[in-house]
Every structure is written in structure tokens, then in C-alpha cells.
């Protein structure tokens, strides 16, 4: 049996996504458990995980709901947390923009951190992949993790208090993100961009609803591009 090139890439995406399952399974279960303990019913908890698929925004919304924040504030904060995904959308458009509208809509629904990061790494390494191969890889990296996200949210919601919520999973999230970023630090421009991002987000920590992140990220984009231009000029002059 021979698989089509797109199906092969789907499997590669699924395989490259495996390390993230270490984090997603407990994270989803904990979300399900604490959401249930906070008073949401199973349908509501699953509504979050299936309709939104955005772990950190879901947790932020849950936190504010338990503090009985006004509905509008909960919505605004959770969406601010997700605004970074607008940058993902722009950044992945050169690769997936030629797909059909339906495919792009489905890809948008699944454009969360992990498949975005995996696909960007892949498409930069192998720019000659065809559109269907790129689409295959993207969905391969997105769909299995999303299914795990739904299933483990459900498990957490049903098991509720039997799930230990203080086993250090909060640390697993930064570790996976660092593990994704570190291999990308291959030029001075990438390092400068990442450092700008870290320093600014810490300085701008006072800004409301996590909006400091957006300012820091935007500045870091500019720094990365500027340093790249500067390095290109130096190379040309040498």
C-alpha cells in the first residue's frame, strides 16, 4: 500500500506532534477537572474545549469566571490572550493561503500554538513541499492533538476531584514552548528578536489583560527583521 504524498506528510505531522501529547493530556484533564469543580457542567466544559481549543485563554476565562468578573471583561481578556494567533494567521498564510476556503476555515479553527509552531519549523526547513503536502502536515500536527484535547478534557470533567491538579503541569507548558523556540535561535536576528520579546513583556507586565505580550511581540518582530537587514548589509559589504 502506498500513501499519497499528502497522507505521508499527515503522518509526519502526527509523529512530530507526539512530544506535545506529554503536555496536552494532563493539561486538558486539569482544565476539565478545575472547570467542573468551579461549577460548570460537562456540556459547558466540553463547549470550551471543542469550540475554542485554546488552553491558556480557556484557563484565563475560567479564572475570571470564578472571580465573578463581568461577562464582557471575561470575553475581552480571553480574546486578548488569543490575539497572538492573528500573527500566526498572517505568518502561515504564505504557505496555506492557496487552499480552498473550506480548508482555510478548518485550518483556522485548528490554528493553535503547537501545529502553528511545528508547521512553521517544517515549512522553513522544506520550502519545496507542495500545497497539499503542507496542508497534510499541518492537519497531521493539529488533529491528533485536538482530539486528545477534547478526550482528556472530558476525562477530567468526569473524574473531577480524582484528578490531582498540583503535579507541576503548569511547568510543562513553558517547557514545551521553550523547546520549540530554542532550535529556532539559529541567527543573531532570531536571538535578538527573542530577547526583545522577553525583556519587553516583563517590563510591560503592568499592562491590562496581557496586552503587554502583543506590544512585546510586535516590537520583537521589528527587531528581528531590522537585525536581519543589518546583517545582510554587513555580509554584502564584506
Amino acid at each position: 500500500m502506498s500513501l499519497s504524498p499528502a497522507a505521508q506528510q499527515f503522518l509526519k505531522g502526527a509523529k512530530d506532534g507526539l512530544p506535545f501529547h506529554i503536555v496536552i493530556w494532563p493539561f486538558a484533564a486539569i482544565f476539565g477537572a478545575i472547570a467542573t469543580q468551579a461549577g460548570l457542567n460537562v456540556v459547558e466544559v466540553m463547549g470550551f474545549s471543542i469550540l475554542v481549543i485554546a488552553g491558556s485563554a480557556q484557563l484565563a476565562a475560567l479564572q475570571l469566571m470564578t472571580e465573578n468578573a463581568p461577562t464582557l471583561i471575561v470575553l475581552a481578556t480571553a480574546l486578548a490572550v488569543n490575539l497572538r494567533m492573528g500573527m500566526y494567521s498572517a505568518s502561515i498564510t504564505p504557505h496555506l493561503g492557496k487552499s480552498s476556503l473550506l480548508t482555510r476555515a478548518f485550518a483556522s479553527y485548528m490554528l493553535y500554538d503547537q501545529p502553528y509552531a511545528l508547521s512553521t519549523i517544517k515549512f522553513e526547513k522544506e520550502p519545496d513541499l507542495s500545497l497539499s503536502e503542507k496542508t497534510g502536515y499541518f492537519f497531521g500536527s493539529a488533529i491528533p492533538i485536538a482530539i486528545a484535547w477534547y478526550a482528556m478534557t472530558l476525562a477530567g470533567a468526569l473524574l473531577g476531584e480524582k484528578i490531582p491538579t498540583d503535579i507541576g503541569v503548569d511547568f510543562a507548558v513553558p517547557v514545551t514552548f521553550l523547546a520549540v523556540v530554542a532550535p529556532m535561535l539559529k541567527t543573531l536576528a532570531h536571538v535578538a528578536s527573542a530577547l526583545t520579546s522577553v525583556v519587553l513583556v516583563l517590563i510591560l507586565g503592568f499592562m491590562p489583560y496581557g496586552t503587554g505580550l502583543l506590544v512585546a511581540a510586535a516590537a520583537a518582530l521589528v527587531v528581528g527583521a531590522r537585525v536581519e537587514i543589518w546583517m545582510d548589509k554587513r555580509k554584502a559589504a564584506a
Binding site: 463547549g47 469550540l51 475554542v52 476565562a61 469566571m65 470575553l75 523556540v181 530554542a182 532550535p183 513583556v201
Partner: protein, 107 residues
Amino acid sequence: MIEASSTQIWIIIVGMAIGTFLIRFSFLGLVGDRPLPAWLLRLLRYTPVAVLPAVVAPMLLGAKADMDPLRLFCAAATILVGVWTKNVLWAIITGLGLFFGLGAVIG
């Protein structure tokens, strides 16, 4: 406990779902296959290294973080192994392995 009514809860869920989708759909859906200008593409190449560190840094070093030396050490090890091996899996195994391993030893 959450005191919001079922209606309020569903307004939040559906509002987040629609808003998040529109954010993710913004460029991919509306720009589609129209070419983006070169300067914008250059900026966008830095998206992962510009966004993800800004997500992580407050968790480890922000005002509300507990600055646990074990976590900072394991985070540094994750970065070093990631830069060195260029391999996401090895970096995760190092970071989490050290965290849970040393955590069990130190208690």
C-alpha cells in the same frame, strides 16, 4: 464557585469561539492567496521567536511567578539542549525529566 447564569456562561463560550476563530481566520481566510509584500513576510518570519518567549517569560520570571530555582534551572537546560540538538523532543525530555527527577530527589 462560578455564579454566572447558564446564559452568561454560554455567551462567554460562544463569544470566545467566534472571536478566536475570527482572529485565526483573519489573514488566512481574508488574504488567501494574494501575495504579501516582502517587508511583511520578513517581519512574519520572526513570529514564533517573537511571540512564544513573551508567552513563557511571565510564567517563569513575571511578578506573579514564584521564581523557583528548580524551574529556572530546568528552563535554562531546556533552552540549552534545544539550541544544541535542534530537537524539540530532546529539549522537552531534558526539561521535564530534570524537573520531575530532581523534584522527586529534592522533594
